[in-house]
């Protein structure tokens, strides 16, 4: 199997802004994260449960990028899709015409990852609940097969979830959360960013990707905090999936041993390419991979010049 597994739902999206709907585009956390890894690394694949019609678009994308379909378990007739309605830049609602239950039916289970991970697996991305049962199983699989885990937490959190998040994090290596989710989880307003970052520094993980929407992201470790504004290699069109895409890239970069500034730069570069069109990055050529890497290096240097933040 490939070195990196991106695990979670694939889900097509139509974005509705000012009452105008974009065509359905490929997306979903597992798929967006895959593009975030693939822009830097060819040895990656998708682990997902989905509908038989995935072959029409997702399947072709996998073929074009020489990614095997081994991790795709067809468990229903159709890939789910959602309508994402943006009220403003950072606020949206989503509805799922095929039913939310089917979204749940197509979620990835720990046993799917255990089945597909092997001795070559170095890192996995998974979008999942703050659920101790799930993450204990994931932690056990990671210890057995020696891979690192990036957990991107699912939305719909409450402050009551915090003790669970802290326990779940003991089973993962990397954690990804956005400012809205962190604000709810810690009951701290989004504006009090330093305070949220101080709390995130206490999590028992090697690295946290803290995404602050249109403003960019932070990489937080026990010893340092680095910040980078958003990077737009092309004109930004649609932010859907930027969080998943950047999280996939950060998982890859951290597992490969890059320093925090480069992890952050790569995450933001991947998000920037994702924002350049509706849906996921349609074609990742060798040339695009080189450009993305070079752009990340350039921004890494800038981040380092600016220095580290210290929050105490």
């Amino acid at each position: 199997m490939e070195k990196y597994l991106c695990c979670g739902n694939i889900m097509s999206d139509s974005v509705i802004k000012n009452n105008i709907a974009s065509p359905l585009s490929m997306g979903g956390p597992g798929f967006f994260a895959l593009t975030g890894v693939r822009i830097f690394e060819k040895s990656c694949t998708l682990v997902t449960r989905t509908g038989a019609n995935y072959v029409d678009d997702y399947g072709k994308w996998l073929d074009r990028h020489s990614i095997s379909h081994r991790g795709v378990d067809v468990n229903s007739e159709k890939v789910t899709y959602g309508h994402i309605v943006f009220r403003d830049k950072n606020n949206y609602t989503a509805d799922y015409p095929m039913g939310v239950e089917l979204v749940g039916y197509q979620m990835t289970h720990p046993e799917d990852i255990e089945k597909h991970a092997d001795e070559n697996t170095k890192g996995i991305y998974l979008f999942h609940y703050p659920d101790i049962t799930v993450w204990k199983l994931m932690g056990a699989a990671a210890r057995k097969k020696r891979f690192k885990i990036m957990w991107e937490i699912m939305p719909f959190l409450s402050a009551d979830d915090l003790p669970k998040v802290q326990i779940c994090c003991k089973n993962v290596d990397m954690f990804s959360i956005n400012s809205k989710e962190a604000s709810i989880l810690y009951s701290i307003s989004e504006e009090r960013e330093e305070q949220i970052i101080n709390e995130l520094m206490k999590l028992p993980v090697e690295m946290t990707l803290y995404r602050v929407g249109n403003r960019g992201a932070y990489v937080i470790t026990k010893d340092e905090v680095v910040y980078c504004k958003k990077i737009n290699p092309k004109r930004a069109v649609d932010p859907t999936g930027c969080g998943n895409t950047s999280t996939g890239a950060a998982m890859w970069a951290h597992t490969e041993g890059y320093e925090s500034a480069m992890v952050l730069a790569m995450a933001n570069v991947a998000a920037g390419y994702n924002a350049a069109q509706y849906g996921a990055i349609p074609e990742i050529t060798d040339d695009l991979m080189k450009k993305a890497y070079a752009l990340a290096e350039k921004h890494c240097r800038r981040i380092k010049r600016r220095g580290r933040y210290t929050f105490k």
Binding site: N75, E101, H109, L157
Partner: protein, 314 residues
């Protein structure tokens, strides 16, 4: 095990018209159907994905009834919890999981996450001489194709209780596809109205008779049910329960019972209808699931014997 009741488990909070509120009742289609079989026979297994809280909340029930838990798998921290609101007639007014969007979304998503995959079911039927299986299911053809392979391999009889949201006219083609692999089909009056887009009960029964399935259990709420077989229908008035406490799960319990009696009586529509009604009457006499199923057996058997004989002598 001779019989299997498979599918989702729920933990119900019941809210009743007279102000009663009873929390943490065991429910969901699979456990209720399990109880509908277990009142007649110990040779039944419950197959369900649950939350870890299931074992804590229902430890006493599991121990008291000596329930085989090998098919009950904890996949999340918490099971599906649900609030059910009933009107003064005992009909369901509303079902929800709380008022905020977060809970509504997560509730539906978790139901999907904990839904049994055909592959998970397959482990419990392969080479196990299963005679009959109950599972509530939707109309997704791919799931049915996988299920059909398992059924063909293992040769059990299948009772399909259709999931309400999927029992609509536009799904008729998919329903006909699924009925190829179904021995008994169970639906209630509301679902039948949606399926045939009519409120006329005679017309519904006429249309049900045309469906390509050996038997139909057509549940008409407090009035009881019809069994339909080989172009004939048999009405079974509901049985007066000892107490009228909680109507949740009567449909699932009676359907589980009907699956059992269908297999044990070679598909006798009279026995199937009567035994289904007995199971429903027992279920409504308790909050949640029947607390001690074996204890009901002698009484249930005696009642079934008497009522079947009376019906047949008419």
């Amino acid at each position: 095990m001779k019989y299997i009741a498979a599918g989702n488990t729920m933990i119900d909070n019941g809210h009743y018209a007279d102000g009663r509120r009873v929390t943490q009742n065991l429910g969901g289609p699979a456990p209720f159907a399990y109880s509908g079989i277990r009142i007649w026979d110990d040779e039944v297994q419950l197959i369900s994905n649950v939350g870890r809280d299931f074992y804590t909340i229902f430890k006493e029930w599991l121990d008291k009834n000596n329930v085989d838990t090998s098919g009950i798998v904890a996949k999340l921290d918490t099971s599906n919890h649900i609030d059910m609101y009933f009107d003064e007639h005992g009909d369901v007014l509303d079902i929800d999981s709380g008022t905020d969007k977060r809970n509504t979304y997560l509730y539906a998503e978790k139901i999907g996450y904990l839904k049994l995959f055909p592959e998970e079911l397959s482990k419990f039927t392969e080479g196990k001489n299963v005679k009959g299986l109950y599972m509530a299911q939707n109309t997704d053809r791919l799931i049915w194709e996988k299920f059909a392979e398992i059924k063909k391999r293992d040769g059990f009889k299948y009772m399909w209780e259709i999931e309400g949201a999927h029992c609509i006219a536009k799904n008729m083609e998919d329903i006909l596809f699924a009925l190829q692999y179904t021995d008994v089909f169970s639906l209630n009056i509301g679902e039948a109205r949606n399926l045939f887009e009519t409120d006329d009960e005679d017309e519904i029964i006429r249309k049900l008779k045309e469906l390509p399935v050996d038997m139909i259990l057509f549940r008409v709420g407090k009035r009881g049910l019809f069994t339909i077989k080989e172009g004939k229908h048999y009405y079974h008035d509901s049985i007066k329960p000892e107490r009228l406490l909680d109507p949740a799960g009567c449909g699932n319990t009676s359907t589980g019972s009907a699956m059992y009696s269908y297999c044990e009586t070679d598909g006798d529509p009279i026995a199937v209808g009567i035994m289904a009604n007995i199971a429903a009457a027992l279920n409504i006499s308790y909050y949640g699931i029947i607390p001690h199923m074996e204890a009901e057996r002698e009484k249930a058997n005696a009642m079934a014997k008497e009522l079947i004989s009376k019906y047949k002598s008419k």
